[in-house]
């Protein structure tokens, strides 16, 4: 018998020190301020926080360090930072600024040895390998997220803009062997649709590895979270807009999940 709870993880997409994708909280003075949002989610009972940097410029990257530093100073739940993490130096600086874990995506695909390097130096618990997956279907069929129709899933990189030949299941297993402590799995088919997480994909990866899998992409309703934990076998679920828009609070989500017999921290 285990009492480990399923984690709910809000994600802040940041650009040049501001949370983008818009938020609509009435109780925040400045909903674009990552510190205010982090504090808000902490109060609401978020189990962790993920901060993804989508700045393209060098200036944006410099601002990220300040953002991480500012957020981490008053946040006492785990903080993962990702987005453009490529080198050992990037990781070291982020961890030094107060991140507990770094998420590596494209760099891990292009140079898998960075996963091992990070794990050896910082410990596996600090290394999250982010995998962006896209389903492959027979020619002529339309792509349906969260359907069993995908024969397999391919890894995509550079924010979903570049296809690779890597099979998602094989890559997830490899990432575990290389020393990843967790897999952050985003369905590029489901992302942005608000039609639910890709449960077949999540379950396939969760069964293939022995490390926790964080499901991401597609959350639109409370029921979607119950589904990804019960059917998708996820260990944690990440979402952005469903929380940012204030439609559902983390507290109400957790109460909903508890009523569905999903173990959560309340």
């Amino acid at each position: 018998m285990t009492h480990l709870t399923k984690r709910i993880i809000p994600c802040l997409d940041c650009k040049d020190g501001r949370v983008v994708k818009g938020t609509r909280f009435v109780d925040l003075r400045d909903a674009g301020d990552p510190r205010e949002l982090a504090a808000h989610y902490n109060r609401e009972g978020a189990d962790e926080l993920v901060l993804l940097d989508i700045s393209a410029s060098r200036e944006g990257r410099a601002t990220l360090m300040e953002t991480v530093h500012a957020v981490a100073r008053t946040l006492f739940i785990p903080l993962t930072v990702g987005g453009g993490v490529r080198s050992f130096d990037d990781a070291r600086r982020l961890l030094g600024a107060g991140a507990d874990k770094v998420a590596i995506n494209t760099a891990a695909v292009e140079s898998p040895e960075v996963v091992s390097e990070f794990a050896e130096r910082f410990g596996s618990q600090a290394v999250v390998v982010a995998v962006d997956a896209r389903g492959e279907i027979a020619e002529g069929e339309s792509r349906v997220p969260d359907s069993a129709s995908a024969a397999r899933w391919r890894v995509v990189t550079y924010g979903g803009t570049r296809e690779t030949a890597l099979d998602v299941i094989e890559w997830a297993k490899r990432a575990e062997q290389l020393g990843a402590g967790e897999i952050l799995l985003t369905s590029m088919d489901a992302d942005g649709t608000r039609q639910g997480f890709d449960c077949p994909l999540t379950a396939a990866v969760a069964r293939a590895v022995h490390i926790p899998v964080i499901a991401s992409g597609g959350a639109g309703r409370l029921e979607d979270f119950a589904e990804v934990f019960l059917r998708g076998e996820a260990d944690a679920a990440l979402a952005a807009s469903i929380f940012h828009f204030g439609e559902y609070s983390i507290r109400s989500l957790k109460q909903f999940l508890r009523a569905r017999a999903v173990p959560v921290r309340i």
């Binding site: 480990l4 709870t5 008053t74 006492f76 739940i77 507990d100 410990g123 022995h210």
Partner: protein, 196 residues
């Protein structure tokens, strides 16, 4: 002054941040004389049992830690800092722990995912010492692949496939397997209890 022991591993930064947030004076110490000068010592941990014991040995930090314990100076071990109090660990079969607690740290076996990452509730045996004011069933954040067995000194426990020591307290020594610096308000209260 509270000293956080830096032996080249461990999450010194986040522990320091939490202590500073609580308003206590804190320093990061890596030399024997700094350990001896500290009123209270925090032994943080993340990483490998063997590497930690080796680093402590090479830097001449084992004796100052033992002296502090013998003199009754408060010490708090966190995560690997709790495991180091035991005699040995399956993570590094040849390495000697501090041996302040009896038993061997073991790797999780069975169907569960390893590491044990996330929030689990703790069963508080007695809400005193660093667990003062911590209700039974409080959630705290764990992140570990090896677990410490229950001993008479165990003051809180949790369940992850097997029952394991979540906290221990004896004399002036306290230790926790979870990360109080990452366990929200519950964790901050535990750190406050240690500071005060």
């Amino acid at each position: 002054m509270i000293a956080i022991l830096d032996y080249g591993g461990g999450n010194v930064g986040s522990v320091r941040k939490a202590i500073e947030y609580l308003g206590a004076e804190v320093t990061v110490a890596s030399r024997p004389e700094e350990i001896r000068a500290a009123a209270k010592l925090i032994l943080p941990g993340q990483g490998h049992f063997g590497a930690m014991m080796k680093a402590l040995g090479e830097r001449g930090l084992v004796d100052p830690i033992r002296e502090g314990v013998a003199q009754g100076r408060p010490m708090l071990g966190i995560c690997l800092g709790l495991q180091a109090l035991y005699e040995s660990s399956e993570e590094a079969p040849g390495a000697h722990g501090l041996g302040l607690l009896e038993g061997r740290v073991r790797r999780f076996e069975g169907v569960f995912k390893v590491p044990h990452i996330g929030w689990s509730p703790i069963e508080v045996k007695e809400p005193r010492g660093i667990l003062r004011g911590i209700p039974n069933g409080s959630f705290v954040y764990f992140c570990h692949s090896y677990y410490a067995p229950l001993t008479p000194e165990t003051s809180a426990l949790t369940d992850y496939g097997q029952r394991l020591a979540a906290a221990a307290e004896f004399g002036s020594v306290a230790a926790v397997q979870f990360h109080p610096e990452k366990s929200g308000d519950t964790g901050l209260q535990i750190l406050r209890n240690f500071i005060e």
